[in-house]
Symmetry: C2
């Protein structure tokens, strides 16, 4: 038995590794050095490890941090501003007017609040699309969160960069500024086929390919989108992107609610990744994405919350519960989207969507230490026959006690160590007063 | 301004009254004396009240306790025992064998654990069906929870009472034992049209009518149930009950997933109450109950979690979020099941289902003091444009800080005062070891 020192030793919990064998270690530990996982094993081996910082999981669950593959983090600013409205009323009369008032400072505070919420509910990595993206990257970096972020690009003038040429310049600035950062990955993010001209989509695709970056896009979210694209380009949104040579393994297609068999074949052939956002799709009445079919075709699917204006939270534990249940009732088959499959989507498959599965998504030696602990000493997590069932069907965001990201202890016993979230809450409350419709 | 003393004064929060005007008091208070609400008003009036016990809601939400209209509380014992299986495999190979081993003591501990979970997630009243119901009533009473409970009746021998005649004797015993209790209401509870012969259903109906008690029954939960009843009685389950003269205003029909237009007309004509259990119906792949249609017909619908084996929690805040979203996507209309409607279902309409709306379900002088406080000083509840949106779409069970039931402070700052839930968790863990399939 190799003896070694660990900067952080998490022990005395059931370790859900999410490795390729789905190994679960009943009384296990994870040892961290620097930003990396040094070792994962059973309690029997633990005497050989000297842990500088020892974290007792107290019989709880030790697992990879959750990966939220689709967010608009700063939309925390608009949480509950407007609900239960027809999509176009909601967007045109509430969301867009509020967003037109935003600036870099507001987005920074909104994103930082989102980081607090995400850390406190077990997310360690998120993939974001929004305005003033440098602020989102700064917020994630300050909070100590891993993030894939990009500036949203579209045909009309942006409250951030103005005309689209400036949008590409801004994206180029992001790429250069953040390229060496441990936690931040920049993506190229054209909003959608319906808000982006073919030239924009192709330019975005070229930029992403050239820099080997993810390309993130909303795709086939609503029936209206599909019929409008059909009318304009005689192609579904997916076919339209295929025709423009945009579909590729680096593409993360968000939503994919309305898909034809041909669309699914195209996504599969081009190894496109899919971000599934069940709660947002439900709340906006967009529809139910054919996820079991996508999985059956071997397409890689991650899970995201979407923004707080259409959810209205960033709680991945709630999202995976909903995902598991929604597809059962939609297919009238209780065996689809079993707990293991859904947990995979929220961890290693989410990481794969983002092109980060070589460094995160599972607890394995050599990977970055993105680790959370669930406190299972709660009435609603008792008894425990099966920890994976509990994670998916019974646990809540508030059960996450501790979070380590890239080897840094960002939360311990529900206390965030990297920043003062109460100050951020106050700042956001002040901003919200200026965004409310009466202003 | 009337001056008076209050035993408990809850103040400094947004009071969601759920009265007939849906009044919301921005900076309000609720004053409690004995088991009753003495007054509800604005902070401006508060100097006239001397509060013996003063509870500062700290700007949070003060609202009626949630009413869970369909539970099998003691099924906490089976939480996560088996998931993601075909219904008959799940029931016959996992749930029924485990239940056959249960006794009064086990049900008591399971129900008490459920009470801990329910109190800690904002439920103050639940409506239960299970075996060994006296144990459930004792557990609720000991925990200080309001409950409607009844012994499940069916054609085959029960692990509790044996043959059905003894089931009616047991129910009669419950009625007599608990009739004067402040918190407990006994109901007559034939399991379902498919497990109860016509004579059983009629005898149960007569007993309920004679004693003016609720009659609680599973009804039209699955397509198989409907086709089997059709084959046997040439009637849908609803028609079958109508033919037997069982349908009446005291009937709480649980699930009602598969309904014909004629079924809906019958439920409406007989003023039957409906318990909607969206998460269980999703997880078991039963289907989606036509709730917007029922509401459109003026039928009273409450919300329940069902048992922990098919959910797997008793969190009403999660359940109402799911209810609001599920029907939007099912009808492809984002305006159905708006937050106010859903919150009504979980409070005053739930109380109406149970025949208790004259005493609970809203915060009004003269009603019993069943009150909860939500702590909104959390990242995921910031900012707050609309408290009702937050309750339905963003809050979690763990945001409930304080609970008062029948004037008794059962939880303050998340500490349950009525019993030691950690001891109960240990007892349940021991019981679970005996119920696991390998035993």
């Amino acid at each position: 038995m190799r003896k070694f020192d660990a900067e952080i030793l998490v022990f005395n919990g059931t370790v859900i590794t999410m490795d390729t064998a789905n190994a679960v270690i009943k009384k296990g530990y994870v040892a961290v050095n620097g930003s990396q996982i040094e070792a994962v094993g059973t309690l029997a081996e633990i005497d050989s490890i000297k842990g500088k910082k020892r974290i007792d999981a107290k019989g709880g669950i030790i697992m990879p941090g959750l990966v939220n593959v689709h967010t608009h983090a700063a939309m925390t600013l608009l949480r509950g501003l407007a609900d239960d409205l027809p999509l176009m009323t909601w967007l045109n009369e509430h969301i867009f007017p509020a967003e037109s008032k935003m600036d870099d400072h507001q987005v920074y505070q909104g994103a930082l609040l989102a980081c607090a919420e995400m850390i406190m509910s077990g997310t360690t990595c998120f993939c974001d699309m929004y305005l003033f993206t440098d602020a989102v990257a700064r917020a994630a970096s300050y909070a100590g969160m891993r993030a894939v972020v990009g500036e949203v690009l579209f045909d009309f003038p942006s409250p951030n960069y103005g005309p689209i040429e400036r949008g590409f310049e801004y994206t180029q600035m992001l790429i250069e500024k953040w390229q060496a950062h441990e936690l931040i990955t920049i993506a190229v993010e054209p909003h959608s086929p319906y808000l982006c001209a073919p030239e924009l989509l192709q330019q975005a695709s070229n930029l992403a390919q050239k820099n080997e970056l993810p390309l993130i896009i909303h795709l086939s979210e609503t029936r209206d989108e599909v019929s409008n694209l059909q009318a304009k380009f005689s192609a579904t949104p997916v076919q339209h992107l295929a025709n423009l040579n945009v579909l590729a393994p680096n593409v993360i297609a968000c939503h994919c609610v309305v898909l034809s068999a041909e669309d699914i074949r195209l996504l599969d052939n081009h190894h496109v990744k899919v971000a599934h956002n069940p709660e947002s799709n439900m709340k906006l009445a967009s529809g139910i994405a054919p996820i079991p079919t996508l999985l059956g075709n071997g397409i890689c699917v991650g899970i995201g919350t979407d923004g707080c204006a259409s959810n209205n939270n960033l709680d991945m534990l709630s999202e995976i519960d909903t995902a598991a249940k929604l597809h059962k009732v939609n297919t009238l088959d209780p065996t689809v989207m079993d707990a293991q499959t859904v947990l995979k989507m929220a961890t290693i498959d989410g990481a794969r969507c983002l092109g980060l599965d070589h460094i995160i998504g599972s607890l394995e030696p050599g990977k970055r230490a993105d680790i959370i602990i669930l406190d299972t000493h709660k009435p609603h997590l008792t008894p425990m026959y099966n920890p994976i069932s509990h994670i998916v069907y019974a646990a809540r965001g508030s059960d996450v006690s501790t979070s380590i990201i890239n080897g840094q202890l960002v939360m311990e016993d529900r206390k965030i160590g990297t920043f003062d979230w109460k100050e951020v809450m106050q700042a956001v409350a002040r901003i919200a007063a200026t965004l409310a419709p009466e202003n």
